[in-house]
Symmetry: none
Subunit: 218 residues, 2 copies
Amino acid sequence: MTIAKTKILLADDHALVRRGVRLILDNQPDLQVVAEAADGSEAVAVCRRQPVDLAILDIAMPRMTGLQAARELSTVAPHVRVLMLTMYDNEQYFFQALKAGASGYVLKSVLDRDLVEACRATMRGEPFLYPGAMTRLVRTYLERVRHGADLPQQILTAREEEILKLVAEGNSSKEIAELLTISVKTVERHRSNILQKLGLRDRLELTRYAIRAGLVEP
Amino acid sequence: MTIAKTKILLADDHALVRRGVRLILDNQPDLQVVAEAADGSEAVAVCRRQPVDLAILDIAMPRMTGLQAARELSTVAPHVRVLMLTMYDNEQYFFQALKAGASGYVLKSVLDRDLVEACRATMRGEPFLYPGAMTRLVRTYLERVRHGADLPQQILTAREEEILKLVAEGNSSKEIAELLTISVKTVERHRSNILQKLGLRDRLELTRYAIRAGLVEP
DNA sequence: TTTCCTATGGGGATCAGCACCCATCTTCGG
DNA sequence: CCGAAGATGGGTGCTGATCCCCATAGGAAA
């Protein structure tokens, strides 16, 4: 008897990665990649015009990121389940993905059978958090929420993330102030808040953090 | 008749990517992945203890980057050809890879058959520059060299490189002075010399440089 | 409505980074 | 033997970064 395979859309800007993941998934009896996309808007377009059960989205993509695409899919194609597949072992992105409606978050460092399991779990309706570091992230996060009522929000605001990137790219306070057309004082204020929220000492640690988190390139 | 397949070492910190690329390469009659590595030092270790014809190295890897690994391989295992496989469409990395002894530089955005072609070209001894943007890079680079604008080929002294690493790891001048049992003044003097030699502005640019060069981890 | 958060901006203090000046001592090669 | 280069260290002064204090406007949440 023939089982209906899960129809998968695979979105990643690297053709090589798409090809490899496709080979892994198509090898499974219950999974089939029916479409590929090189960026977020392509992914959304595909989901609008053909039946897709599961969208596997990379976060870092040109034009529209996987996070944007996930948000858009939750309104224009709510029946499509979303699994984020990314290299970013990063709290920010993780919670943003959950907020954007993703049912799973898997790092590219997982083994192939973990990805397959993530696909199946997502299709069963179970949220899949890749084993290890991510569950630790969630646990410490929940701990903080439970105990640290005084810790306001460990998540950076959009403005703060913008400042963070500019700082980590090597811009001085003055340069950032000119770029954003705000005063140097405000830039310093934001940066100070960021340092405090992330528990870092100075611009240099901020840079290393941002590079490690994949927010900027070295 | 059986042809000896090219023995390939595949180094990438993402198990999923390794798996995918392996599926692509093993599908070819003349190529075979005989080993995998999750970071640069693993890659070097593998090449020391078993025969490898071609090492495919990712640039961004923990502990030891692909650039460092390439440099090391050129001395401890000079017979191994090196092909850099990376997501960075970036002039800096490209030339650093060439200097480190890589015979090829391929982006992860290429198609699978381009990767296969790159492997074959590298084994034939031809340098493989992925089509398009990279050849343009090479042309402008050669132009610059020809027109006498010789690149800043400044070499740091051993002591300066030691200081550079400590600075890039986030240590303050005072901390470095204590670590090396020298005065803060001398640390600042060295750091100043480093900045001047490399044409950088401050600690932050120094850090980004060191990370890009593979001297320290993020 | 009232309260909280965010973004905005100012003043002042302290400190680290950085550039410029100066020097001595060692080592190594011509 | 001498000069160049590297490593060491001191002084001075400027600028930027960081950390305090303060305030206001707007929006969202309670």
